[in-house]
Amino acid sequence: MKILGIAATAFALVASTAVGHAGQSVSLILNWTPAADHSPFYYAKAQGWYEKAGIDLSIEVGKGSGVSSLKVGSGGAPFGISDLATMLVARSKGADAVALMSIYANTGQTFYWLKSYGVNGPKDFVGRKIGNPPGDASRVMWPAFAKAAGIAPDAVSFVNVGPTAKSAALKTRTVEIISDFYNSHDLKLREFGSDLGSLNWKDIGLNAYGNSLIVNGAFLQKNPKLSEDFVRITQKAYAACVADFEPCLKALLDRSPASTARSNCCSGAASSI
């Protein structure tokens, strides 16, 4: 009877543990398609870290920070990745979103040019054409850059160039300067070699936070423990990937639709949008 009693207690413990780890379903909306900077989420998920904390995480592909900040801000997803400036704008429009962790502590905004065009720095931007999409953050924020660089805001002209056509436009001299994100720096370096010139906005004193982990404010209020667990697991995953990226890349490629992840893992063309 004593043995039966112990067995019953053990069963009850196992059962209660299993219930405790049933997992609360939560979703994370990315800012874009899965890319290298998202790999720690896939790595932590593959390691079972979220699951062990009772978090049943699903990761949703995003369509820009505007969409992710509004979806999180409306409660459509508890967690998301968003450029912080975009989240601030969304919050001013009523989105209930709160930033919990910076991923890009430094701005990815960077200007690129070819030295053979006679450009060696921002002073040489005067009278030149800069190519980027109409709503590009670097175009919107251009007056701030011009002020920091000591040039007139109207000293340059902007040409509409789509995200995927920027390098071609620079190569054919349709424009002489383009704006892009720093994490795709090596693609340009490979294409243009030593002729490539660049300036990250941080180097001129403009260093806004970039992509960050955000949460719905009401969800945070109702689920403080889960939110803390989610943040700390994510933080641990990023630290692990900083130490060794190989398993994180594998997790990204294994857990994402192959065509999407592979085409984005090494380009980062849109990973800061």
Binding site: S92, A105, M141, Y182, D186, A208, A239
Partner: protein, 70 residues
């Protein structure tokens, strides 16, 4: 792999390397708020400190600056 090196550069600042990976600094946030207000516009202004918190981060996990490519 090269791209991840650039990402590590973007992850490292004086706060993430000393106070906790992912740390969001109040002073930097205030500057960002002012920048956004000036150039993008805030439909309804709010207290910037209501828009972020670093209190959920584990301060023992820091961004390893030695892993950032020079």
């Amino acid at each position: 792999m090269l791209q991840w090196g650039r990402i590590k550069y973007l992850m490292a600042d004086e706060f993430t390397t000393t106070r906790g990976l992912g740390w969001i600094d109040a002073g930097r946030m205030q500057k960002d708020y002012e920048l956004v207000q000036t150039y993008l516009g805030m439909e309804k202004p709010f207290a910037v400190e209501s828009a972020f918190t670093s209190r959920l981060l584990d301060p023992t996990i820091k961004m390893d600056a030695s892993k950032v490519p020079k």
